[in-house]
Assembly symmetry: C2
Homo-oligomer: 191 residues x 2
DNA sequence: CATAAATCTTGAACTGCTTCAAGTAAATCT
DNA sequence: AGATTTACTTGAAGCAGTTCAAGATTTATG
């Protein structure tokens, strides 16, 4: 039950669902335990669920034809993660979503969420706000990618998410920041 | 009236508002004529409106401390543009939004949109879907930025938006793709 | 249409970042 | 605890992309 409460808190930062809507929402959630290195999404399979992280850390990454990994997103407690493109269009995923630590997530299936939103506009609103914030966030990252040096990108990330820096493997962070692990190692040395 | 119809068509790709909701929506729209090189958003001012492009082309860009421009988004007919971060949080903008050609837009004020969404959940849904698609799109761009070479990024953009390539200044496209105008010129030469 | 302003091109020198390879350290498993 | 895998470090060489500067071309304006 613990995870339900923290997700509810997240929701109540933006909207105030009534008791009935809240119960309806809880009823579509499923708590899942995941082990380190486990994949909760894999390329080729449709990403049915969106996952809210109760405990643990995760990453979504793309594996290029040449075998290079590109981390698109990290998620720790109180964040959502999925192959979002696959999730909203219900098309086959192109990303892996991997647990970086043992953890627990709350999964909600796409069709259940859609039905819930149709019935309770308060959730339509919640997911609109979340999507808008996610978009604004992604735009800030794009600006950082096109405008800043590798060192600046690392420092910016470190300022924003010092906890994540200490919690994920360095090669994963490097692939998120768009540089090689070797170069990230060198940046850290000279700072 | 012409612009209203094409925006309505856009909406009806995702949802089906009733006559009343439709009229309420139309009532918050304002059609504005803009001249080439005109700014419709400027840093420091809160971005009150979201703009739907009826005719013309626009770009949103960030001007760094060193005076370098970084284009975050282009918009042509049937696209939305704004400083989205400023718009959703109603905080001062950090971007310019500039008309690249003479054009016409439909502006809708933040507070009017919010009120409309509260009253007509069908619009809540519409803007949720638009935000989700925008986010998924931004994620694809991030992958392209962190994983691909300058030449690959250009080719990818050219495939997706051949029309835009021919329509916007090359320095603007270069700053969108995260490279110098000189280098884009060289890429185009060798292709 | 002539002049100015803005945009694009080209080359040469330079540098931030990658690649490759080998060694060290730290997790993970039995 | 010892063995094995996984992750991180370091240096040397190479290259993708930048910077600077000058000229050519296109677009705007009186």
């Amino acid at each position: 039950m613990s995870g339900y409460y923290s997700l509810l808190q997240n929701i109540e930062r933006y909207v105030a669902p009534g008791a009935e809507a809240r119960e309806a929402f809880f009823s579509i959630l499923r708590e899942v335990v995941v082990k380190k290195r486990q994949f909760i999404v894999q390329p080729g399979f449709v990403c049915i669920h969106q996952s809210y992280v109760v405990q643990g850390s995760f990453r979504a990454f793309f594996l290029s034809d040449q075998g290079v990994e590109h981390t698109l997103q990290f998620a720790v407690e109180d964040w959502f993660i999925s192959d979002f493109n696959s999730y909203i269009n219900q098309t086959p995923a192109s990303l892996f979503v991997e647990a970086l630590e043992n953890g627990r997530i709350l999964q909600m299936a796409h069709d259940d969420v859609e039905a819930l939103c149709s019935r309770y506009p308060v959730f339509e609103r919640y997911f609109r706000i979340v999507a808008q914030k996610s978009f604004a966030f992604a735009q800030r990252r794009i600006l950082s990618n096109i405008g800043k040096s590798a060192e600046q990108r690392y420092l910016e990330f470190y300022e924003l998410y010092p906890d994540i820096v200490g919690r994920v493997p360095q090669y994963a962070l490097a692939s998120y920041l768009g540089m090689t692990p070797e170069f990230l190692s060198k940046i850290r040395k000279r700072l």
